[in-house]
Amino acid sequence: MTESAQDGEYDAWLDSIESDDGYYLECSNGHGWLPPRRVCPRCHDQDLARVDLPESGEIASYTTITVPTPQFEDDAPYVTAIADFGPVSVTGLVRGVDPDDVAIGDVVGLDVGERVTTGERVVVFRPR
């Protein structure tokens, strides 16, 4: 991992997932977003509260990527998915399950792992 400045609230958010204290930001109209975010783009509300992320989500779509960017060269093939956690969706790698067995609707939990290629932190989904 290269020595560089933290990406503010994004890295703080990863820290929170790592310590099982994951959260999202919610406006007063119930729209959910991941940090960093100062305003709800849907209703312009700037009063965003920190809310606990649900323990599990559902795979909304997924793909096995065989031609990666150089930062994922040694990770490929890997499964990237978008999982629905109620008011927010999250994009991450699916691990702990055979790629052929991943399906829309699968229930997953949120975790932080490491990229094989660079050792950098990455959002990971694991079957629940």
Partner: protein
């Protein structure tokens, strides 16, 4: 307010030209467009230029003045960046500049140099059109993002990889006579289905190639065209642009492209036409599934119906509404920052009868160009019509 006339348009050969600089590619297209227009370069008043990955591919920012210089113009020059919709967005700026009376002659164009950095670096460069924190760091690539959208479409509306293969087969067939096209090679549905996977369900033949190339067009007012006796029968009569959340995860739908819905609605309203008036369209098929999203957003098909259009022969050159007679991005190639102006050129040539596929749409009067950026977080739509 005058709808801009297209006085000249040009594209370079699209393909692999790793040894050619961006400035050389753009100079070729720009000089040819100016020459074709028959306009004194002294009369040009502005340049809008599309480019996406110039910093990464050529270590070159600030390309506006560089490219004006490359075509011998001393004018205010602005680079416009909206990922793969950069050139379409440049067209929109040019249209506004002509319409609001700020200029009588505007050059619009775009160029991209991509093959010099190799596939891995180009994949990386294209990926930065996505959200870095939440998508690129989760391994998302550009094909990967469209794969997520394709799988979601199949899940919601049905459809199969074989349906997508028919889109690739069609666009390859359309490109066979297009001398500017990167790929002039017929393929079969079996070829497309059996091709190596990039990000399932999308394979090699669901994806546009990595391309070097440039495109340029000269826009002018109706009055200037008349005064200078220019041959410029085609006008841009409608322009629209729409946006969306950058990251797929933040959108309510993975299988719809509302930014394109908004752009189409605005462009149709601006031109005073509807989808049923459109004879043909050039749409942004960076991946086969993207053509499905495009023809649904343009109102040619209901949601969930666009997937079967190529298979049913409706969007082929013999069909009722041919799509991508140039071969599309799929076969013609996709030099990212040039694509929107290449579409403008194609529609112009199909309407004025000079395109090699013009015989597929004889007597057509209305064509549409749809240019999408990223996973359709940016879209422009332009309506073009033959004027009396």
């Amino acid at each position: 307010m005058s709808d801009p006339r297209i006085a000249g348009a040009s594209v370079t050969q699209f393909g692999k030209h790793p040894e050619r600089t961006g400035r050389d590619l753009f100079a070729e297209a720009g000089l040819e467009a100016l020459s074709q227009a028959g306009i004194d370069p002294e009369d040009a008043e502005a340049l809008y230029y599309g480019n996406f990955m110039g910093e990464l591919a050529e270590h070159q920012g600030h390309q506006g003045p560089l490219m004006a210089e490359a075509i011998g113009l001393d004018v205010p020059a602005t680079r416009v960046e909206a990922a793969c919709a950069s050139a379409g967005t440049a067209v929109r700026e040019a249209v506004k500049t002509i319409r609001n009376g700020e200029a009588e002659v505007v050059v619009v164009g775009g160029a991209e140099r991509m093959t010099n950095i190799g596939t891995a670096a180009a994949t990386d460069a294209l990926a930065i059109a996505a959200d870095d924190l939440y998508e690129v760091r989760a391994g998302m690539t550009f094909p990967g993002a469209y794969a997520l959208m394709a799988r979601s479409y199949f899940d919601q509306y049905g459809g199969s990889h074989e349906d997508l293969a028919h889109i690739a087969v069609k666009n390859h067939e359309h490109a066979l006579v297009n001398e500017h096209a990167q790929i002039q090679q017929e393929i079969t549905v079996e070829d497309a289905i059996e091709a190596p996977t990039i990000a399932d369900p999308l394979g090699l033949y669901d994806s546009c190639p990595i391309t070097d190339g440039a495109a340029a067009a000269v826009l002018t007012t109706e009055a200037y065209a008349e005064e200078h006796d220019l041959d410029a029968p085609v006008a841009i009569t409608g322009t629209g642009q729409g946006g969306d959340n950058l990251a797929l995860q933040d959108r309510p739908h993975l299988a719809q492209t509302p930014a394109a819905d908004k752009a189409a609605e605005e462009a149709y309203g601006d031109a005073g036409v509807g989808p049923d008036d459109v004879d043909f369209a050039e749409v942004h098929d960076c991946f086969t599934i993207a053509e499905v999203f495009a023809i649904e957003s343009l109102g040619f098909y209901e949601r969930g119906e666009g997937i079967a259009a190529a298979r049913d022969g409706e969007t082929t050159r013999d069909g009722d509404r041919p799509i991508n007679l140039s071969g599309g991005l799929k076969a013609k190639g996709h030099p990212v920052g040039a694509t929107g102006v290449a579409q403008l050129a194609t529609v112009t040539w199909l309407l004025d009868g000079s395109h090699p596929r013009a015989d597929a749409v004889p007597d057509s009067t209305v064509g549409v160009a749809h240019n999408a950026g990223g996973t359709v977080a940016s879209t422009t739509v332009h309506v073009m019509e033959v004027q009396e």
